[in-house]
Amino acid sequence: MALLSKAAVLLGKELRTEFRSRELLTTTVVFILTIVVLFSFTFDPSVSESRRFGPGLLWLAFLFAASLMLQPCFLREQTNDTLGALRLSVSDPFAIFLAKLAANTLFLLFTQVLLLPVFSILYNVPVLAAFPQLVLVMFMGSLGLSVTGTALSAISAQARMRELLLPLLLLPLLTPVLIASTEATAALLIPNPAMRWDWLGFLLGFDVVFLTALWLFGEYLLEE
């Protein structure tokens, strides 16, 4: 309980600082919208093409947005050495990770839900029929992106060439999440949408494995 209550306090801090600075959300939303609008006007896809390529395009946009969002996650804690202050105040560093990955997941999910209607209009793909299922898939996919990305952000923040390191580590590790998320999303955008529980189970497994690894080894990621 102590862990969860401290994580909740930290999540409150993450949300408050973000809504005051709006650094991450503004960048991410503008980036994703640009990609979706640009592709729509460049290729002018038919409905069937949109259904085939749309899910891949969506998750590619989410991936790049996530890497933009995750980069400053631990980096901005270094400006005033606030990470040091957090480590002095929290006995279990997993609380810090938990708060950061919850915040990243929420920010990512927020941008995704904001993007879905735009995607639906520009690509002429109805999303309302399976909207709750789509949100579930996006939540699981975002959690996968955030868990992995938060851990790697902690590692890369202390390294030289940090701006280069995070995408280099992130992209190959996230390939399984992207495949599973894209497949599950594609199955929900067809005329008779169906939830692909196999891919959702895969995402759940991925999230659990990386969360456990973060819980076990997170302490070492924050060490100097």
Binding site: K13, N80, D81, G84, A85, S89, E224
Partner: protein
Amino acid sequence: MTPASFSPTGIRFENIDKRYGGLYALRRVSLEISAGECVAFAGRNGSGKTTLLRIAARLARPSSGTVNFLSGSQEKLETQPTAGFVAHATMAYDELTAEENLLLFARLQGIAQPAARTETLLREVGLVDRRNSLVRTFSRGMRQRIAIARALLNEPAVVLLDEPTTGLDPQGASWFAQTVRQLRDSGRTILMSLHGESEVSALATRAIRLDAGSVVADTRTGANFRSILAFANA
């Protein structure tokens, strides 16, 4: 400062090595700091002062050796950090107000009445009128006041000050010296790294010089005392 509610605590460093790759930041450092001592660490940049303080704060782990906090004759094994830490960086969030910053860290440290403790500390550091101002709007001196307040939230028996007066104007440095004097007089153990002689260094009861990660001089009195502190500027 509020009346002390801590038990006097000393620190024992035993054979501390800290390596970054092949580079030694600290080499076989063994020191025993008694409860209530006010120790000034002097030395050139890169001599290992900051590393030693960060190890004492448990922000860094030694490559080998141990650090123990000593309460009376008992060696305490701490799961929670005992020491309050003030660094050159403010360790506060620019996008939060002074009060929000202190409340955040008070809640994380599990302090019983976070709002009351925050209020007390804001008064003590003279920031009660600016409690609702964002830290990013603060001057360097005000930022260090917030840093001191954060470090004292859990009424630590040991206070670690890493070049705390760097960048402060004479008025800010004077306020800081007065605060350190109060902390010292309240019986807290103080370890501070300094650059040269100052109003703050004059409060030290022991001076230790580090060079290339090793202790090269350690004295409590005598002519050598001032020369060690002055050495940092050499």
